[in-house]
């Protein structure tokens, strides 16, 4: 009886599955077709198409903007390594227990509060135009480095919060168990808490990095001709917005694989956590 019931349920389940696949396909096709129709039939579509999606412009600027995009890639690759390291230090400092470390905790809290609150573009301008004006002899005046430094400072604040959430999510019993085995506080953090914490926060970390990659375009306000500024120049010289679309294409091109990777990691994580709980 149980077996008959089970196979019945399975068959009903697979039928439902098939029909829901069809509904999903149909509704997707209808919605996308309707959206396309609405846009293409809009009275101003030919003008918008010419101004934003001109194939000739796209081809003309693909190479130059792609070349300029290399600068964005360099900036975020270097920035990401620095951010991962500095944010970890900051998060650990903020998690230091005991009254002795209060000033350090306060400094760490002040840092995250301040730099998460400041608009990124302001800090980029402040670093890029402010620091060279100080005329310090051993500090670079290169706007690329200064702009990247501003991004590192801001994103370190964000990422340290992500790390801290990870550290807080590790159950206190883990620490207690580790300490009872005779590990020092430092050893516990290093070998027990952090490995678990970091694994849990990989998806939100990737999320922040996608934000960082787009924000490399903010450095354009300091003058370096990266992808966005190259698009800006192209757009201004031809009175056509297609170069911006080319720049967007490159940003999306590197973002999408990371977004899918994040999704996959989240799904894997959930599967793992649910592993014992399935009935």
């Amino acid at each position: 009886m149980n077996g008959a019931n089970g196979s019945d349920r399975a068959r009903r389940g697979s039928l439902l599955q098939i029909s829901s696949v069809w509904v999903a396909v149909a509704s997707t096709v209808v919605v996308f077709a309707a959206l396309a129709l609405i846009i293409v039939n809009a009275p101003g579509w030919p003008k918008v198409k010419h101004a934003f999606f001109d194939p000739a412009e796209f081809r003309a600027y693909f190479g130059t903007i792609g070349h300029a995009f290399v600068l964005n890639i360099k900036i975020f690759l270097v920035a990401e390594v620095l951010i991962l390291t500095l944010a970890m230090v900051l998060a650990v400092l903020r998690s230091l227990p005991g009254p002795v470390f209060l000033p350090i905790r306060l400094l760490a809290i002040g840092y995250t509060d301040l730099f998460r609150g400041i608009p990124t573009i302001l800090l980029v301008l402040l670093f890029g135009f402010g620091i060279p004006t100080l005329q310090l002899s051993h500090v670079t005046r290169d706007p690329v480095y200064l702009g990247a430094a501003a991004l590192v400072v801001i994103y370190t604040a964000y990422v340290s919060e992500v790390y801290r959430a990870g550290i807080d999510s590790v159950h206190p019993s883990q620490e207690a168990a580790a300490r009872s085995l005779g590990l020092t506080r430092g050893q516990t953090m290093q070998t027990v808490i952090l490995p678990q914490a970091v694994r849990r926060v990989i998806p939100p970390l990737l999320n922040d990095f996608i934000g960082l990659q787009k924000d490399t375009a903010l450095i354009s306000v300091l003058g370096p001709v990266e992808a966005l500024q190259r698009a800006n120049l192209g757009s201004a010289s031809e009175f056509n917005y297609t170069p911006y679309v080319v720049a967007a294409f490159f940003f999306v091109l590197i973002t999408v694989p990371q977004a899918r990777l994040t999704d996959w990691l989240i799904a894997r994580d959930r599967k793992r956590q649910m592993a014992g709980g399935r009935v």
Binding site: S20, V23, A24, A26, S27, V30, V31, A33, A34, L35, L37, I38, N41, A42, P43, G44, K47, V48, H50, A51, F129, P132, T133, R141, D142, P143, S220, V221, L222, G223, P224, V225, Q229, N232, L233, S235, A236, S237, E238, F239, N240, Y241
Partner: protein, 299 residues
């Protein structure tokens, strides 16, 4: 079941929405693009943004020597200038064109239009726009240009005593870090003609370029010659015009920007050519733009 209902709802919504799209396309009435109105240029019969008024767009900030009335209205802050004063070369040209078209000073309204907005497709917030915009064939595919009202050469500004000031040829400039403003034709000129060994910088505003020059991040700014004179005289202490570039083939001519297929073009052109013919434009240049011709030409 819920899924199916949702699907049906989507279809209904989509149909309704597409119905809206097509109905608005048939009801939207565009003024005839023919230049048949050329004969009749009286303010009352012109298809201006606000009937009986002329709306002129310009950038904000509006810089000298093209606008020199000092801050006012929406144009506030250091180095910014209120176009309503009619002071400065382009403010004066705008009012002269308006007057030739039959509008009084009170009938002219100024609109803040960012450079990027000036060529955006779709409705514009101005009847014509002027902010040192060079006429280019590629640009003319997306907007209408009036006949030119000025012809400008590009020049290099640098701080006095820096190595770049000893440059006498285009080749001498190659080794320096140059900067320019986005939205000008200067960047193409730098990369195409000077071909410097260092990547030139492009700034969003002139103020940013000035800042970078003073902070030593760039060696020279490439701008049009009248702006170069203004920079050296007012904006950047201890700076000098290194030289001007020979007039590019076809010339860097500035025109008033209008929406593509503007019904006003014929009348605006008529006014501009009348102002050229009667010497008004030449007179305004003399009044507002420095006429120093001694600037060396960098070949």
């Amino acid at each position: 079941m819920i899924n199916k209902l949702l699907a049906v709802a989507f279809v209904a919504l989509a149909l309704a929405a597409s119905g809206c799209g097509s109905s608005s396309s048939s009801s939207s009435s565009t003024p005839p693009a023919s230049s048949g109105g050329a004969a009749d240029c009286s303010p009352a019969s012109l298809h201006t943004l606000t009937s009986g008024k002329l709306t002129i767009g310009t950038d904000n900030p509006a810089y000298s020597p093209y606008y020199t009335g000092g801050p006012g209205h929406d144009w506030s802050g250091k180095y910014n200038n209120d176009p309503y004063t009619g002071k400065g070369f382009e403010a004066a040209v705008a009012y002269a064109v308006a007057e030739k078209m039959g509008f009084t000073k009170d009938q002219v309204t100024w609109a803040v239009t960012h450079f990027d907005q000036s060529f955006a497709p779709g409705p514009k917030n101005f009847d014509f726009y002027l902010a040192q915009v060079s006429i280019r064939p590629k640009r003319a595919e997306n907007v209408d240009f009036s006949l030119p009202y000025y012809r400008a050469n590009q020049a290099v500004v640098a701080l006095k005593g820096t190595p770049i000031t000893s440059a006498t040829t285009l080749a001498d400039l190659k080794q320096y870090k140059l900067g320019t403003q986005v939205g000008t034709t200067s960047y193409d000129f730098i990369t195409g003609t000077i071909q410097p060994s260092q990547q030139p910088s492009a700034f969003n505003t002139t103020n940013d370029a000035i800042h970078a020059l003073q902070a030593g991040q760039i060696d020279g700014i490439v701008v049009d010659l009248p702006t170069a004179f203004y920079m050296t005289a007012v904006q950047i202490p201890k700076s000098t015009v290194v030289g001007q570039f020979p007039t590019s083939p076809g010339g860097d001519q500035w025109g008033l920007v209008m929406t593509k297929d503007s019904p006003l073009k014929a009348c605006v052109d008529k006014a501009v050519s009348a102002l050229t013919a009667d010497g008004t434009l030449a007179k305004l240049q003399k009044t507002w733009l420095s006429d120093k011709v001694s600037t060396p030409v960098l070949q």
